[in-house]
């Protein structure tokens, strides 16, 4: 198995393939793409498109086609999630909620030039194709948000994707100031979809919805989800079990 990890966009990027004909130059092409995405879309880099838009230096007529493509996905997602997903936050333009999934999808396209069997991950969001080095479909763990050394679920992914949204701030408890009690809210929610853009944007939106998020996913055709709640229980959508490894 070829496996390489690099930290880009502030998160680990992991590439894997059982196909030994894939060269390090091939993998470099994928990593370079993530570096390009970071430079172009990071809100933390002054020269990025996102920073320029926020400084009022770039108007809509000047948006590159690639950004328009990302914004079209964002607009569609905002509509599908009743506004839970928005690239504008407190007057600030920030498309990174879409960019992450889009970047993984584009990276997967690059990998697909070299092999049918691969795993592309950016910060816990994963798209897979084909099989692992044992010739089996990729087996993926869903991390316990309360103990990062544990998995709470193990699933089998075939040419599909999983994304997890949640809080990695552990030891925190969210209190309802009105009722004065701890909320039984979501610690993390993992969403399986046919592609990473869908998995990522819906995981993001579902997490923002709090306890309602899992029901939102339940109502979406073609998606399954698993939510880890603050009370240390797991709630799964009705079709989730189809993906569970036996």
């Amino acid at each position: 198995m070829i496996k390489q990890t690099r930290v880009i966009m502030g998160m680990p990027i992991v590439l894997m393939t059982p196909d030994t004909s894939v060269t390090s130059e091939n993998l470099e092409e994928v990593f370079s793409f993530f570096t390009y995405v970071d430079k172009t879309y990071s809100p933390f880099i002054d020269s990025s498109i996102v920073s320029r838009i926020n400084r009022g230096e770039m108007g809509e007529p000047e948006y590159p086609d690639e950004l328009r493509e990302i914004l079209a996905i964002a607009k569609n997602t905002k509509h599908q999630t009743n506004g839970y997903f928005d690239v504008w936050h407190k007057g600030n333009f920030d498309p990174s909620g879409i960019v992450k999934g889009w970047a993984i999808a584009e990276a997967a396209k690059i990998m697909a030039k070299f092999t049918n069997n691969f795993y592309v991950e950016a910060g816990g969001d994963i798209e897979v194709s084909g099989v692992n080095d044992e010739g089996n479909p990729w087996q993926i763990g869903v991390r316990n948000p309360f103990d990062r050394n544990q998995n709470v679920k193990i699933i089998i992914l075939k040419n599909s994707a999983i994304a997890t949204s949640g809080t990695a701030i552990r030891g925190q408890h969210i209190y309802d100031p009105v009722q004065g009690k701890e909320l039984n809210d979501v610690a993390s929610i993992s969403v399986i979809a046919s592609n990473i853009i869908d998995a990522d944007r819906m995981a993001t939106a579902a997490f923002a919805m709090g306890a309602k998020g899992i029901y939102f996913i339940e109502q979406l055709a073609g998606y399954e989800a698993c939510a880890a709640m603050q009370d240390k229980t797991i709630i799964t959508t009705t079709g989730w079990y189809n993906y569970e490894a036996v």
Partner: protein, 152 residues
Amino acid sequence: MYKKLAVAGFVIITFIIYSIHQRNEGSQAVQKVTTSQGNTSQSTAASSNTTTQSTASVSYKDGSYTGKSSDAFYGYVQVRATITGGKLADITILDYPQDRDNSVEINNSALPLLKQEAIQAQTAQVDGISGATDTSQAFVESLGDALAQAKA
């Protein structure tokens, strides 16, 4: 106790990585952000043991410092660091991406009863792991900003 130490270690290590990264980028954003305390519906206090050791080499001025609001991909994270005796004594989370309005419309009558079970560790071998990393990064960034302001 072990868990607390692990968390503390994680925060410290990620912060150090972040600091180095920031230095390389050469962009020390020292910017005072005022936070409206009216927005504390979700704020929580984290009493933290993340003090000495790694941070001992840096001297901080006593006081409270509010970090910049940092992008967590699906919202913003903002923390306030309290320095006592030159050391990081407390971290308070001011903003946290769970405070959206609950305006989504879900037809409750159509909802099935979803399966709920206690978390159980799974031990089978995996090729990869899906988990949330976004918030921790934003947390580290906001904290890094607060500590940059606290530097003596």
